[in-house]
Symmetry: C2
Subunit: 390 residues, 2 copies
């Protein structure tokens, strides 16, 4: 297909760079709103390419390829944060509407840029420092205590690019590798958090913002495995404070589209910012079934500068369970079993081949009994992964 | 694209004959479940073809075309009821799984076949008769009273193919036309109903059935303009009785997939069957946002003989307003305005060009205040149609 199939009536084309599950999950809402989705995909069988009529395959690091793709689009947005700055700047120079903007996106691409900006804006962060040398590391560790958290500023996700260092010896190889890339490392204190929360919001180019209820996220081996919406036992003032942190960041960084702010909740109820993502995010998958406006519809509305939809939760609780690849590769009989066991289960699969630990789907379940919902979401995710067999 | 793009993991391809909005609205749920949707479309810009990678254009009345399409599919189902019996029988003879089956579908294709079967099964119907002559019409009218309702058994929808006759003179032309086609007309008494209800349910080849809450439908000029879920002030026993009528019909006719039964509610609270549709139906559009399992997901599950999802309503009330084509053709600025006015509004547009009276979309809105919800759904639909300007 040589051009995206536009619907009559003046409806726009939203181009997504990257054909992963986040692009894929925009397809349903785009169809509902009569918006045409275009995807610059990594491969013909990329998750989003399987469900999108216009999904040319191309390299997102190649300026000419991305420019050619953007020509078909009224606005360009992202499935991931790995598009190089020079490619983004070339689009902007061409007059393409890019959301989030390259200036905003830098904060999600580089954790040092993010820490500097948030600290400058007065947003609560863990204590942090940039390090080039062993002396930098030792000085920071001696100040904040050991162990400390070491991060590569760029390219990390799902626990990758993160190291917990007990001594400077643990950091030596990473320092050498960073030096070769002429980069610094980010050092952060190991925050004694009581749990992890996330604020998900959308902000439009006009400056309208809408935040979903604050959620609790549960990580296992650095990967989000469960999200509870809303976060249980979170005092209304604490939820409001966390939401304001998110809204402050969005305004300070000029965010457009959906943004997730991962937070550590401390013993005194206050929060500090852990990570940022400027795109629909795992912590918001619950909203697809649990909220009036899901995060993928909201992202489309935000990047198009359409009025934002209501983030109201439709049910008292929604629990999301991430499905990671396990032993079983033949998933169709698996979900058949789950559907029979739990008719309320919402199964979302990404059309991806199974590889151990790969995010291949998620389940949502909503209702009034949180303990029961958590058990059911956990069971379903474990069953698809083959961790349990009935 | 020469074959439908299957997701890895053993997931099936569901082929839909017809590329209208009902096929289109299957696309989102299919992607979520990793099911590949294939569409035999009327044109490259058919509503469903705009959002489906595999949507060959072909004539649904041509056996060779439909056979070639079905070759790619694990199951074949329908966007409409106009596929000729011989085409369907050819597929079945080829060993293709067709749902609903040709035997069941006949009851939705021919209203006389439907009346005979329902009466035979003891399902409450208006008094009816088949007519070939003026004498038949006069005899029936004298028995049940005038006016009476005259229907062409085949091809009618949205008030087309229906005539209210005050005298036999009104029926003369229709009798002649029917005689030319060697068909009978269906005569029905004009039922003194107090309102119209609909039962929507799904039934799988294994015989599992699930019914959504009974809804009230409001028709204007023979076209459904509003649906209220659940039907207000319907006693639980009356709702149960209406649901049982639907379940009885589904079992008696061997229905597979989603079926809608349109009912007349009489003054004594009992119901009689008006019409049947064996596919997702306008009266079920509310379920896309208002129920745990929407009708398009449920139809996919049913025709694949997957366990059915919960039809539970997520909110106390959901109101659906149909959007018909009016004066405005440039709909994008229109819905922008509506989104700003009502962030809770769920807008569904079908990617179709505007023609006066054509169904081009619908809106859903859910909550606790029914009067308010009805006003908002009505406003949104009227605004898109250009009936009101603010």
């Amino acid at each position: 297909m040589s051009t995206p199939p536009r619907a009559p009536g003046g409806f726009p084309v939203v181009g997504v760079i990257g054909g992963g599950q986040l692009a894929r999950m925009c397809a349903g809402p785009a169809a509902e709103l009569s918006i045409t989705l275009a995807v610059l995909a990594e491969a013909p069988d990329a998750a989003a390419a399987l469900v999108t009529p216009f999904a040319p395959v191309g390299d997102h690091t190649d300026v000419a390829t991305v420019r050619d793709f953007a020509r078909h689009c009224d606005v360009v947005t992202f499935d991931h944060e790995h598009v190089p700055s020079d490619v983004l700047e070339a689009l902007v120079a061409d007059g393409v509407a890019v959301h989030p903007t390259p200036q905003a996106l830098r904060h999600a691409q580089d954790k040092l840029v993010m820490r500097r900006a948030l600290t400058g804006a007065g947003v609560p962060c863990p204590r942090w420092a940039a390090a080039r040398s062993e002396a930098d590391v030792v000085a920071f560790g001696d100040e904040t205590g050991w162990p400390l958290v070491v991060k590569t500023p760029r390219g990390g996700y799902d626990g990758k690019g993160v190291l917990v260092a007990d001594t400077v010896d643990d950091v030596r190889d990473w320092l050498a590798a960073a030096a070769e890339r002429d980069e610094e490392l980010l050092l952060e204190e190991a925050v004694p958090f009581v749990r992890e929360l996330a604020v998900l919001l959308a902000r439009s180019p006009s400056g309208q913002a809408a935040a979903w209820p604050v959620v609790e996220t549960v990580q296992t081996d650095g990967i989000c495995t469960e999200v509870i919406a809303p976060a249980p036992d979170l005092a209304p003032e604490a939820a409001e404070a966390a939401t304001l942190v998110g809204l402050d960041i969005a305004a300070a960084l000029g965010v457009t589209g959906v943004m997730a702010v991962e937070l550590f909740e401390l013993a005194d109820g206050s929060v500090v910012v852990n990570e940022l993502a400027m795109r629909p995010h795992n912590s918001g998958h619950w909203s697809m079934d649990g909220a009036v406006t899901g995060q993928f519809e909201q992202h489309l509305r935000a990047v198009l500068d359409l009025p934002l939809g209501s983030p109201r939760a439709r049910e008292p609780w929604t629990v999301m369970g991430n499905v990671l690849g396990g032993e079983p590769t033949d998933l169709y009989p698996t979900y058949r079993h789950l559907m029979a066991r739990d008719p309320e289960l919402k199964v979302h699969l990404y059309g991806k081949g199974v590889r151990p630990g790969r995010k291949i789907g998620h389940v949502n379940v909503s209702g009034t009994d949180l303990t029961d919902l958590r058990e059911r979401a956990r069971h379903a995710a474990d069953y698809i992964q083959g961790v349990i067999v009935e």
